[in-house]
Symmetry: C2
Subunit: 76 residues, 2 copies
């Protein structure tokens, strides 16, 4: 079973990486960019028997810092 897990900063949390990219795009001459938010995506190949609880556990214990990040699991 293939999973895609998105980890993004919670709204309101400062995103320095996104800010830097936004600034750099402007310097490169790309107009019309209003906002940039950076995040992570993990593609996991797991056994079909892997439970939702186990997947949640992987996200909460390792893949996301739930204090400042949200995560979303997608089965592909």
């Amino acid at each position: 079973m293939k999973l895609r897990i998105f980890v993004t900063l919670k709204p309101g949390v400062l995103d320095p990486q996104g800010r830097a990219i936004h600034h750099a795009l402007g310097s490169l001459g790309f107009a019309g960019v209003d906002d940039v938010r950076a995040g992570k995506v993990f593609e996991l190949e797991v056994a079909d028997t892997t439970t939702d609880d186990a997947i949640d556990g992987m996200c909460r214990q390792l893949l996301a810092n739930t204090v400042i990040e949200n995560y979303r699991v997608e089965r592909i």
Copy 2:
């Protein structure tokens, strides 16, 4: 117009971050994880007039290292 841009390593390119996560998941006791690939996701808010060429340019010039990474643009 909101865009989501996925940047992932090309198949065959060594993914040390994915390897480290895979190892760490095992150490945390999560069984059944066969593979982990790490990537980036960027959410951009851009003007509706932004052309496909401009978006491609943003990806090629800044967001992705096209030597080792693939990128995919999704309009949301």
